[in-house]
Amino acid sequence: VNDRLDRERALERLLPDVLSEASGPGSGCVEAETLAAWSSGHLRASEAAAVEAHLSDCAHCQAVLGTFVRSAPPAPVEPVWSRWHLRWLVPLATAATALTVYLLVPGLDRRLAPEQTITQADPRRESPGVPAPDAGANRQPAGSTPAPTSPQADPVSRPAASPPPRAGRVEEPSQSRGAFEAGLRRGSPAEPPSVDKQAKTETPQSIRDSAAAPPRREVATSETARRDAPAVTAPPPPASPAAAEARSPAKSAPVAPRVAGETAATPERPADALLRLRRQANVTIDIPTPVRTHRFRIVDGQRVERTTTGGERWESVARPVAGAMTAGAAPAADICWIVGGLGAVWRTTDGQVLVRVPFPQTVDLVAVAADSATAAAVTAADGRTFRTSDGGQTWR
């Protein structure tokens, strides 16, 4: 190696002499403007090649080139912090610090902003006889087996960046006007913003949380709510330690019904997870009806309430059997279909009492679209859709 280097060094000592033996200035020398244009890359490829060929042979032009290069003003010194690989340090360090603080500092309540209202699909927008398609049904092929413990299949662990579904949206009361305007932008019929005055006035905490709530997101009905729930990363502080403890996911046991023989080690079912998250977040599912003043709502996934005064006063709708409720649809002012876990389907036709509708399977139901008191379509957590046109006597 040394021998080769020595030989190359010997040649290098001769190179200046050899290179300077090139031709002197002649008629073909590069003009000043051409040299300037070549150096700044403003020549066509053929012109640049010709200039390069001449420069490589002409000692005079090489000398001009060398002088020209030396005459360039010194390049501005780039600050160390602005180098491309260092520019990321500040945001990365900030994000890492924020994440570390979020994970390590005790007492932070990682829950949804409370008093969220999930607005079901507006029956007035649906065309008669066509059940509202569910986002879950669109995403998952029919007949596929759900795997609740899988991160891909578990809707709770799905990323919040999924495409927005069509069936409904999650609204926060303080930002319902934004949802209304978004609906207008989509070209859908005007829907007045749903204002849950009772929810807003019942708890002072809800007012504070509403103020600190993240921007409104357009998402789907029940399944979208599940998808969005764990994506909230900046929860508001709890009102009190007791409240925080009560709302803490680790300490509040799910109340959703479990299948007989199910042990504590059994993975949480989608409907249970959805219900738990909704309870933790005090999610209220708003179910509009074709009549503007009449609405239903599911509170805490456990009870159904109805208003006939545009939300000023809410009355409980009686139901015979308890169970987790996940979604609802009201095709008329007094008619409402409710679905829940383990194949639970309820229906009220008078707005007063919920009646259990027989359903052939014990799958968790996550969405429902109803056309009338007899025609409805429910969507299971595994993406399957069941339809009835005889009030639940038969499903297909």
Binding site: L11, V64, L65, V69
Partner: protein, 299 residues
Amino acid sequence: MSEASWRIEPAVVDRLYRQARGDDWALSVASFAAALERSARRHFVDAAADAAAVERYLSSLHLSDLAIACACAEGSHRAWDHFVREFRPGLYRAAQAIDPSGGSRDLADSLYGELFGITTDGDTRRSQLDYYHGRSALATWLRAVLAQRYVDRVRSRRALEPLPDEDTPHAIAERAASPDPAWPRAVERLRVALKGAVAALAPRDRLRLACYHAQSMTLAQIGEMLHEHEGTVSRHLTRTRKALRTAVERDLRERERMSEAEIAECFALVTADPGALDVRDLVGRADAGKTAVLERSKD
């Protein structure tokens, strides 16, 4: 010059004039159109270009600089105020960078005077800016003109310098300390072989080599000039040097019929004492503060 088959449409001139903001310098559209035509005629020497190509070419020019140059050449005070404020400091900075001792300041002054215009025939004033056609930025063109003038002056001065007296004490001492008598022959053999090897290089390789070894440009400067990263320049230089060594060794073996031992001895002689053949020593261009060539290339 043959009659061009193209002409610049007035609409194009108007568009380019607006783009160049000729109004700012009270430049007449006719003068600007004449400058555009001069530039196009100079570029399309075959006179067979189509109008679209001419328009593309004109649109690619540094139009605002061209407008300033035209306005200055016309004698617009507003344009000259701008030139003095924006371009003349750069000209002087370039002169200072070329010769930090201030030796080229007079060149910059002279060039500035020529830019303002010199009287040639009676009242006809010819500005050096008439030779600017907008193909590069005006500041870059000024630097290139200054560099050309500096090299011309150095060469003209060198031609007037007396040859060294062979009877000076320094020359006598040099002759007394002359190396091995085999050294001149070894150097000559290597030099001839090296010359052939350099001539066989690709133009860009040869230019890179010349910039580095003859003009003492840094890797960064070469990279900026050739639009290459300096690491790429370094790799190419290393490859070229290796190719040169291989070619020289092959030439010595095949043309000079030298054995490996003779080749090694030839290289050893040159390495030990390259003598006065280093042109940097001859012309005094050697930059004492600069890193050795091989060390620079290892950066």
